[in-house]
């Protein structure tokens, strides 16, 4: 029993160190490597941006759109008792931009992109492709991790903005269609209580979530062991760990913004 606990602590510690090392290596190949050796190929960065961003747009749109619908219905149910259904608009907008937009988008991307990264790199690892890159003197971090990291870093905030908008539209559909609020009034109320800091705190979160998804996915992929089963395990792990870290980071960041008064 004690040995099991000990082993899992040692493994956890190793993973944390491994992820930090991977993060430092990634930063090296983004900021220093291009001047000393070679930069990541622009083509593969754009390719990843299309996969991460464009191909995820639809699913992000739907998830946040329906969340906006649900949020509007639920809050209308509560606000109706106080005769304040108009404020559904601002409630939906603020809670989406500050919280639900960034977090839901990140969870969707962790499930869709993080798992794909872990599975792809994991398969490359178990079929000797990573070793082949190393023998060809091609650094796997530069070649595989950096394009994915940068693609997520730039696309995640874009997707978050899209998610915010989709959620607000969802709220609007309920507000105008079911609660009978005038469309212009709904839009006006939405922006009346939505401040700039609501949006940028959400975007700050999305940058952090992007780094979490990229690093966990790549780390799990690069450390895959033992064939098809290993790839499956790495994929599952990447999603589970990303989910936990996203929620944890969200909690910490929200606390920081809350107590610093922004």
């Amino acid at each position: 029993m004690i040995s099991v606990i000990g082993a899992s602590i040692v493994n956890g510690y190793r993973s944390v160190v491994g992820i930090i090392v991977l993060f430092i290596e990634t930063l090296y190949w983004i900021f220093i490597g291009p001047f000393k050796a070679k930069a990541a190929s622009r083509q593969s960065i754009f390719y990843q941006m299309i996969f991460v961003g464009i191909h995820s747009a639809l699913i992000v749109f739907f998830v946040t759109f329906f969340t906006g619908l649900v949020l509007a219905m639920q809050s209308a149910y509560q606000l109706e008792r106080m005769g304040a259904t108009l404020y559904v608009a601002s409630l939906v907008a603020v809670s989406l931009c500050r919280e639900l937009g960034p977090v839901l988008t990140a969870l969707v991307i962790a499930g869709r992109v993080g798992s794909a990264i872990a599975a792809e790199i994991g398969t490359m690892k178990v079929s000797e492709q990573i070793e082949a890159l190393e023998i060809m003197a091609i650094n796997p971090v530069r070649f595989l991790v950096v394009p994915r990291f940068l693609a997520l870093f730039f696309m995640q905030p874009c997707l978050t903005v899209l998610g915010n908008l989709a959620g607000i539209i969802g709220g609007l559909v309920i507000g105008v269609g079911s609660l009978g609020i005038n469309k212009d009034l709904y839009i006006q109320t939405t922006f009346k209580y939505l401040e700039l800091k609501d949006i940028y705190t959400g975007l700050v979160k999305s940058f952090v979530f992007a780094m979490i998804i990229a690093l966990i996915g790549c780390y799990q992929g690069l450390n895959t062991k033992g064939g098809a089963e290993g790839v499956g395990k790495a994929t599952t792990k990447s999603v589970v760990i990303s989910f936990i870290l996203i929620i944890l980071a969200d909690c910490i960041l929200t606390a920081v913004f809350f107590f610093s008064g922004s």
Binding site: A37, K38, E120, M124, K125, V126, S127, E128, Q129, E131, A132, L133, E134, I135, M136, A137, I138, N139, K225, G226
Partner: protein
């Protein structure tokens, strides 16, 4: 061994007192050997004998516990990062399962080392790729993906990629395993051709006996992490060593008793 003949040749890879263990399992035990420029050197042995580990030590994929591996005068056991990469640029390697990047076409796979390590114009790279592919008899397959071609063709593409940068040393990890005898023969012939035409030093890990006697200039037999015999194919064939004889004949009875041995080191190395 033709001592006088070999002594005149230039040593290109020199392994001295190399030892490597995984946990309590010693997989390379005090191995010393020299490989000469332009020869085809075969390392043979049972699964788990430590022959793959020996090759991975030579490619710098894993670091030894003690000993040196001098490649062109530099000890790659002590090299990291850019210095190791510099040596590796003169390496080519054909992997057991080809290890082609399956997100890239044949063209892109073969041109990858050229795009990464040279500043050649795309047109010239395309010409070089055509040349390399015709060397392995695969011209016209540039736009196929690895998943669309057969195992033997993948091996040949892997070979074209391995020689893309005109390396001085090419490593072959089980080049003929999993192939039918005809394709295996084709691969053997390619290995021979390349070493004769391009004067490439070939280091081959295999347990395919037919292939060993087809291509080898010299053979080393590895058993339990130790080199137990080394010499020309004829010398190996006529060796009095019972381990060697059992291995060549593929007989289940003899000093190599799999039922008494621990699980092999390759089990651990199989990442």
């Amino acid at each position: 061994m033709s001592e006088t003949g070999n002594n005149k040749k230039e040593v290109i890879v020199s392994v001295n007192n190399l030892t490597k263990s995984f946990g309590s399992n010693i997989v390379t035990n005090n191995v010393s050997l020299d490989i000469y420029r332009g020869e085809t050197f075969v390392i043979m042995g049972c699964s788990g004998s430590g022959k793959s580990t020996l090759m991975r030590l030579m490619t710098g994929g894993i670091k030894p516990d003690s000993g040196n591996i001098f490649v062109k005068g530099k000890d790659i056991a002590r090299l990291y990062g850019n210095e190791l990469d510099e040596i590796r640029r003169s390496y080519g390697m054909l992997f057991q399962y080809s290890a082609l990047l399956d997100s890239l076409t044949v063209q892109d796979n073969v041109s990858l080392p050229l795009r990464e390590h040279t500043k050649l114009a795309p047109d010239i790279i395309r010409i070089i790729v055509k040349m390399k592919l015709s060397l392995v008899g695969l011209r016209g397959y540039e736009d196929y993906y690895p998943s669309q071609i057969s195992g033997g063709m993948k091996k040949r593409v892997g070979l074209a990629r391995a020689i893309a940068l005109d390396p001085g040393i090419v490593f072959y990890d089980e080049p003929t395993s999993g192939l039918d005898p005809v394709v295996g023969g084709v691969i053997d012939k390619l290995i021979k051709d390349l070493s004769e035409k391009l004067l490439i030093t070939s280091i081959v890990v295999t347990h395919d006996m037919a292939s060993v006697f087809n291509i080898a200039d010299r053979v080393a037999m590895v058993h339990k992490g130790e080199v137990i015999a080394i010499g020309t194919p004829d010398e190996i064939k006529n060796s009095a060593n019972p381990y060697v004889q059992q291995f060549i004949k593929g007989s289940p009875d003899g000093p190599i008793d799999l039922f008494k041995e621990d699980i092999g080191s390759e089990e651990i190395l199989d990442f």
